[in-house]
Each structure stands twice: as structure tokens, then as C-alpha cells.
Amino acid sequence: MLDETLTEQIKGIRDKKYSSAELTETLLDRIKEKSELNCFISTNDNILEEAKAADRELKRGGNKTLLGIPIAHKDIFCAYGTKTTAGSRMLENFVAPYDATVVSNLKRAGAISLGKTNMDEFAMGSSNETSFFGPVRNPWDETRVPGGSSGGSAAAVAARLCSAATGTDTGGSIRQPASFCGITGLKPTYGRVSRWGMIAYASSLDQAGPMALTAEDCAIMLKEMSGHDKKDSTSAQVAVDDYRAFLSRPLGKIKIGIFEPLMKELDFATSLVMEKTIEELEKIGMTFTGIDLPNFSYAIPAYYVIAPAECSANLSRYDGVRFGYRCDGPSDLKELYQRSRTEGLGREVKNRIMAGTFALTSGYYDAFYRKAQQVRRLIKNDFVEAFKKVDVIIAPATPSTAFRLGEKADDPKEMYLQDVYTTSSNLAGLPALSMPAGFVNNLPVGAQLIGNYFDEAQILSIAHQFQSITDWHLTSPDKRT
């Protein structure tokens, strides 16, 4: 049952091949066995009781979609009565007083939580090395990073510690680790999933999404996670599709756009993977055409102004007074604020807060923040124009395969360039997924599909069709040859 997808586990429990309690026990053993990966910050002590309750509900005819399915939550989602750390010393002892909407939606669908997965501190990082709780290791090669910031979720799914997990994506934090770990990860349209109870990094970019082995699994998860939420006024009042039902419908004539300059930047082996992916998609009836995204190269600079600016405001709440870390023996209020923040937050978080604060100062606001917001509109406009010509855009997910732990830790610029293919969808607010598309030197490579607004169904369907003729998504680190 460990190698089964979420879809198969749902069936396994329904068909009484095994119970939720049996599946849960197996996964808990697996989590212990793979503890060196450091995927979890905390595990749920009550999960066996919850699994047994789910089994009783199943016996009574319960038919919730995810009834009794153990999943994992990125430790950025508040879950009532459990520690929610965001990978930071600042929140090391923070016990959430309520459930995030994502958590309550999945609970309502019957899912049970194995625990909270490790992540870059406050979702700021592309390697999971900025976590206060130590780095996560990539199950494909434990000397390498799993990507970030949702690295714990990605590695947990890849290592078969759970069949699905939640993640968040501000600049690529679902898609980059999905690519590095050989799983499927979807960042939905901005506003598709409520951000209530999701610890904020950059509010106009943050979006929660599913991480799982297959597009079908992501479709199931996304339907349950999505929907308008009165508690998040930025959540969209747009009907939620039955994404899974869409998967089996004929796709019709799909035109996929390629922005050639992105493909030319790739190394030879990765470009072969992308070429092969395009060939496979052609086999299932997709056609390809060139598109122009003239402002694409400004995505990283714009992102690294907007995200730090928003984080400098969002993280000002951590002041040692109401919750979170408080320094010992401050002599006055100013010292309480300053030392609590300085001691409680890590280096990368401080760098971004400092840069964001700078970009918002009166002398530099127009040159940095306003300029970045103008460029953001240009980037969005480019996508709007492109989607007049094509239905979907294909792009690489990452510039490389998983790199070694420590390799880029002292070079922030190199680290930031990890997001080169992903940030533009966050700036524009578009849905995008990464699907396993091959291997380079025994390490997974993902291909990215970017869809039009609220058209998650389309990119999930294409990924599903691709996965029906390939098996990259089913290759596990334990079974590689």
C-alpha cells in the first residue's frame, strides 16, 4: 500500500483491502524508518484514534472523498491545538488556536493529518536549508536538497511517507520541490484556495496547492481544498470544477505555447527531457506554437522587490508580545521588539525583511516597489496576450536538477535564480503545475504547464493524459534501477 497513489489508497480503503488504521500504522512506521530525511517537524499523536474513527464511519456507510486517508500538511497551515512553526524559531512553540481553511476543508472531506512537514523558514527559500529545524534531504539522493520551500511535503510524498500533502507557492515553492523530488505539484490560480490560517509571506502571491504522485491525485485534493471563503476576502467567488471528472473527458484540439528563449537556457540533458515531453504530448494530439513573453526576464527582479516588501509588512507582527518568541529580560519595549525579532528570525528572513523595508522607504518606493508593480502588470499583460493564441504554456520547472546540500547556501543570487521559471505565474496569478518528465543523472526533472486563469482542469487533464502514456511519476526512489 506504500507505493499506491492517493486514488489507489481511496479505493483500497473503500474496497476493504485494508483499513484506515492499517494504512496509518504502515505510514507511521515508514516515517520512523525514513526519519533521516527530516520531512516532518511534528507528527500527530492522535492519528491512530482518528483513523479508527474513520473506519467506524466507513462501516456506517460514510462516503466522504478522503475518508480515512492520511495526508500531511506543510507546517505553514494552522491546525487547531498543534504546533505550527513555519520552520522558524520565532514560532517554535506556537500552538494554533484554529484550523486554516485548507485544513478544515480537507478534514471535512474525511482526510486525517499525519503531521506537519518541514519547510524553509516562513517559506523563504528554495532548498529547505533555511528551516530552523534543519534541512530536509532529497529521497533520490540524500546528499541533495529537496527544493523549497515546500521541501518537506515534496520529499514526504516522494519517499512514500504519505500519498498527498499540502504545500504553498509564492514564487515556485510547490513546483520547484515537486520537480526536484519527482512528484506532481500544482499552484492554483491566485484566489482559488483560501489563505485563511496560512501563515503569510507575501499576501498577493501566496497560494496553497496539492502535492501528490499524480495529476489525478492533485485533482482530487484541489477540489476539496478550493472554494470561496468569507474569511479570506481575496479568495475567488468562482465555482469549483470537478477536476477529476474533467480528466477523462476528451481534450479536443489543445494548442500549447512555447517561449523558445526558456528552452535555450537549459543544459543539454534537461533540454532533451523537455523535447521528449513535447514529443509525448504531440502523440496525444497537442500542437505547439511559439509565443512571446517580452517581459519574462523581469519576473525575478520584480518578485524580489514585491515579495520582500510584502513580507516586511506581514512579518512585522512578530514582536515578542502577543505570540511567538520573546527574548529574555528586555530592559525596555524597544529592546523587547528588536531582540525578539533578531533572535527569533533567521538570516534569510532578515535579509528579505531588510530589502523589503528598504524598497518601501519614501526615497526608494517609486524606484523599486512602484516600478516592480508596474512590471508586474506588463508580465500579466504578456500572458493575457499569449493566452489569446494558445490554451496552455509549457516551460521547464527548474533550471537544474536537485543540487547538493550547502552548494548554494552562501550564494543568495544563485539560490534566487532557482525560481526563474516559476515566479512569473505567481506575479500574474496564473495556475501552473510541475509534472515528472524524466531523469538526468538519476535525478528527477519536472516539466511545467501554465494554464489560463481558473483553468486548473485543463492543465491537470493534460498532465493526466501525459501520465497515462509515461511512468516517470510512478518511479520511486526505492525502485530506481
Binding site: S204, S233, G324, D332, L333, L336, R341, A367, K371, G429
Partner: protein, 95 residues
Amino acid sequence: MKVDKETVKGIAELANFRVEKKDEEDLIIGMQKILEMASALNEAETNGVAPMANPHDARQILRDDVCRDVEQRDSFLALSPLAANGFFLVPKVVE
């Protein structure tokens, strides 16, 4: 854009950080790298382009001005590192 010790000191004050001598260089480099990348924005032609704060250009939805939440004072105070008698405690502010 050159970041120096004075810039770091001023920004740290605004961001409520204490800068120890040993961390000064790290913060200069960290800020410098981000701002160097951001300076590429200068090349973009943005005359007449309206800034975009939200991907859908959405406006804030206002809700009816009615009290909905249940009283949660105690549970929120319990999260505080230091609280007593219904208050968050901080060092003395007024003599």
C-alpha cells in the same frame, strides 16, 4: 545601489532589528544581492503603466459591520509569552 553600514543601520531601525557588529557584513551582502537583482527593473519601459497590487485587480470586499466572532480573549492571551489579568505584559513604558 550601494548598501553600506549606515543604510543597514537605518533600515534595521525601521524593521526593528538589532544589528550586532558580527552580523553587519552579512546583512549588507544579503540586502545588496537582492537590490542588485532588483536594479534590472530600471531597464523596463513602464511609462504610463498602472501599478498592479493584485493579480485580478480585485478591490477589497467589505463585510457588514456586525460582530460575528465568539469571545476568544483567553485562548489568544494563552499564546502570549507573558500575560496576566487579561493583558499582554511588556516592559514598563510610562514612568
